[in-house]
Symmetry: C2
């Protein structure tokens, strides 16, 4: 895989060292790294909210009441080599399995829709201090065939691609390339 870096114009310098290890921060840092190095263009979607009331203050509109909407899609999307990518990052405190209750019914439907439209869809799972990439089709197959309430850690170890943390960059695109070269439907 070539990591071109031809577009110097928008190259920003960000220090990736000494940052927190929370999964969302790791993903955000990886996305910044991918943008800075022209590898992929992936963003966290804005939080979906329902606006109840807005006031005008000093000629600016201020939201004075709003509520958080339940997510019906995944948190991150963007473009990688022309292809549509959407994914979510989930961590579980359980060291033995990932509870499927972490994924809503709407999100499962959305994952199926993305697969149908030939987009790339996956989850980044942090379990027992390891990171795995599990494909959307793997999740759907698991939900449909196993009828279990959680994915055991053994499944990740045996059927999913590990994501390496290199110099604080959680390089999920490297794992995605392996996944796409393998059993991607």
């Amino acid at each position: 895989m070539k990591y071109p870096n031809s577009n110097e114009t928008y190259h920003k310098k960000i220090s990736y060292a000494n940052r927190g290890m929370k999964l969302e921060e790791l993903i955000n840092d990886a996305n910044s790294y991918y943008i800075d190095n022209n590898i992929a263009l992936i963003f966290k979607k804005p939080t979906p909210i329902g606006i109840v009331s807005v006031a005008n203050k000093d000629k600016q509109k201020i939201i004075t009441k709003a509520y958080f909407k339940e997510a019906s899609t995944l948190d991150y999307n963007g473009v990688y080599k022309g292809q549509y990518i959407e994914f979510d990052a989930k961590e579980t405190l359980s060291q033995t399995s990932f509870p499927l209750s972490n994924i809503s019914v709407h999100q499962l439907k959305h994952i199926e829709n993305i697969i149908q439209h030939k987009g790339i869809v996956f989850l980044v799972i942090k379990i027992n201090n390891h990171f795995y990439l599990i494909g959307g089709k793997q999740i759907i197959d698991f939900v449909k065939s196993k009828k279990r309430k959680s994915i055991p850690i053994k499944y990740f170890q045996e059927h999913c691609i590990n994501i390496n943390l290199k110099h604080n960059i959680l390089d999920y695109i490297e794992s995605l390339n392996l996944y796409l070269g393998g059993n991607y439907e």
Copy 2:
């Protein structure tokens, strides 16, 4: 182009008749039509906001103060036949030209980034009661070479693809196919 309709599971019935003619509504209706008919999966992004304060009320989190952030990307994105699509819809009251001030510097940079990552990026422009699809590259070329403050209607008429309104569906994907078959970079 085939318009497959194999996935009956999530097929919803929506009446597209007797709806308003505002551009955003037309785009939202087209997107619903595309999802219902398994043509494309495209959504309006949530409005980007900055949350200032949150209160707990009846065990629910309520946003009590927030502000609207300036858009630095385009309003709609999604997947069409595996490809990444992002676009925005803009209308102008002027019947003779489209002011480039409608597109922010951040949005222009974002358009360039999408092109670099081989995503499909365009604007849907409503001018003088006609709808046109103008490609991201066309906009960037116009901004860079012409150094004008607006795009004259003649440019849309001569160099852009018309978008047809059929039974209240603004079929921009049909125009996109023509665009992609033509001078898409």
